[in-house]
Symmetry: D2
Subunit: 250 residues, 4 copies
């Protein structure tokens, strides 16, 4: 089996290495990741500048671009034969609820799906590195299962692992995305020359973290697995909006 | 009425100005856009560096960041009272089918929605600038209607306008996203020093452009309006995946 | 006469516009400047990515690159006939003593010199914008004199103007570069996620600001004009170092 | 002895590692280099964004900034006690004649000098990596000699090593900077979307490569050592320019 691994924390992130090691037991793993930390990259593409590949001593490749660029370049140019699956992560920090929208990890998986491959996004609900191996081992479990039992071809799995040793994880739960409160106000500061600058602040607290959500599963020490659709069309609303549109005319 | 306008083509793009002019007839318009062309920015956030606001002579603001950053910073910091609606565009070029996934225009609208506001993404299906005014006038029509008849609060409207004078547009159509074939292979070139570089190539041709899709509406010279959901959870699959997960255990 | 104007504060800086207006009375002025604030750019070149030109409504061009890129691109590609002189600025802030080493303004002038043209770097000793017109008018005086009475062809002039109305300036002084004390310690802060970041701090205070230096001239309310050599060879030391090298052998 | 090593080719460059290994025989070596290839960075500073330090597995540090940033941050923040000398390189490619003006390698050394330390810039006249070890060994020879016999405190040494095995190098020569012809025209291309882009082309051919120049020494298979002054004042011209200035008045 051929596995493509990427992330958004960059080629030097310990979570990438943990994932590489866990998946290497399943097949041949190619790693292509951004040369810098690209957390929050979403599905951004590098269109105005060209991309470059650099091979590191440990065999990992880095790209001067985004997670999506990495997956696209790997599949289009670097790999002679297509991988069987794309796995992104292990992200240092949760990708729960609205976070998924901005996550480069989720987007790397989504790009794999766009290019026709099963794909999984793996995140550890912690920035501390102790349990990256738990998450990597969960990744292996999930990948093994996907290979045996394929998932629908228009979806990816967004997997969040609680910050625990593998043995202490309380099982798996299929979830929907919860919602956060709006993020805190941006932080306004001044740079050393007295000019205003703005930083994103802390993530919002959980707003919808009730039963069935990814937040809830994590609170029970379970692995949260959310199937995400790539097609954003609001099918349920097509009729409503069709009525609404009747009031428009050229 | 207060309207926030942004885009992904940057603060100097003619489509931004066309949109500003058309919407100024409806209320007070604040423009906050990236200082550079950020096409393909998706919902990326600038997390490792701080953001800065610059006010231009024409009253527009620019930000050294992404479309999402612009909307976030405008609503969180710049505007004393919240806008009533966020409108992104007019994008120079279509945002149809899979394009929406990578589009900074669609993402600027989505960020408005995340922050609790109705939002519309406006694109002209052409890179040539002749009919930007048509698209801007359609934007005004759509915004007027939303204010009178609100749309569901978990959705945005993705509006694509055919490359025609306003009078020649054949009406409005509510659509689902179509699909493109995979993009052409990336273009491999060499820089002047003989090192390999890679560029994204042309967009893929249409794969699913049948009746009901946004591609199809455009081919009939109609405005395509696709309601997009912000929540990517694949609700239809929750049960299937729940069965699938039963085969996993810690 | 054809004049090329650039700067390092970026295409939207008021000092650029003031310089454009003052020099337009002498001939045809082409403005090509960075699209962003590139203070501190020194003579850096953009080698790994391509450059792009954008023409603004006011006729100015911007480049997604450095001051040196701007001058190089203007002379090599944009201008059909070579300019007679390159003028950089008016910089918002002094370029005195060691500052010159890091200054994008000085480097834009130096690039003009490398490409065979007389060149002047203009700075106002203030970040406040009141007296940009004084500095621009001094620029016109200097350029007029250079055209009539050429300066040595391996040098540029580094001109600093005190923060005063034109009429209150106490004359011109030819100077050597002074020296600053080492800059203050870099400022260590934490970003909103608790990670260490470092900012350059305030400039060092003056160390050598005695008679004959540029600092001294400014303290007397005079325009400081320092001729700068482009060739950094330490000719006076060639013999000393030749003796020193005798102790080396392969 | 404490040695600070940096470069402009980035933290992953083989020339950096070769230099680290050769100098480790002399003392304690700290390596702080840009996280990306910053060739052509000159003395540029990162002023609008903060810097971050990352420690790699091999003990090297990288910075999301320029060579000058690296040296400044290392000396100001990272190193508890000041180094005795700063050595930059081994650059992959020559820094001869006018190249020195744009070179990040030379600038890293110059920043060491600005901060009060002896400093050397090391370059191998070749992009091929075979003889990086020759250059690194020459670096060790030069550093040993500087420690024993200090060089003038307002200068750095710019050292270029011919592309040869150490034993085949024909000795050392103290030189002045030669000059190149102007660089070839920039290369105008189109990106995949048909928009004009511009790349720097090949370096100019040698214009002044006569006896005494760095080009000439290299052509004789010798190591070229050019002492460079940090102060760019054209002392020889102060009188001439003083006469010239008499024609100016406010």
């Amino acid at each position: 089996m051929k596995i493509l691994v990427s992330n958004d924390d960059g080629v030097h992130a310990p979570g990438l290495e943990a994932l590489y090691e866990a998946l290497s037991t399943l097949g041949e793993v190619t790693v292509v990741a951004p040369d810098r930390n690209l957390s929050g990259a979403s599905s951004s593409l590098t269109l105005t500048n060209p991309l470059r590949l650099h091979k590191h001593k440990n065999g990992f490749y880095s790209v001067n671009g985004t997670p999506t660029d990495c997956v696209h370049l790997a599949i289009n140019q670097l790999m002679k034969t297509q991988p069987d699956i794309v796995v992104a992560g292990v992200n240092h920090g949760a990708n729960l609820g609205d976070d998924t929208f901005y996550s480069g990890t989720v987007s790397a998986a989504a790009e794999g799906r766009h290019l026709g491959l099963p794909a999984v996004a793996m995140s550890l609900v912690s920035r501390n590195e102790n349990n990256l191996k738990s998450a990597a081992r969960v990744a292996r479990d999930v990948v093994e299962n996907i290979i045996k039992n394929p998932i629908p071809s228009d979806q990816i799995l967004n997997v969040n692992v609680p910050d625990l040793p593998y043995e202490d994880i309380a099982g798996f739960e299929v979830t929907r995305l919860g919602r956060r409160h709006k993020a805190e106000m941006m932080q306004k500061q001044q740079d050393p020359w007295g000019r205003d600058i703005y930083w994103y602040g802390e993530l919002g607290r959980e707003l919808d973290a009730g039963e069935g959500t990814d937040f809830y599963a994590i609170s029970l020490n379970k692995v949260s697995i959310t199937p995400l659709k790539i097609d954003m069309t609001a099918y349920d609303s097509l009729e409503t909006v069709a009525n609404w549109v009747k009031q428009l005319e050229i």
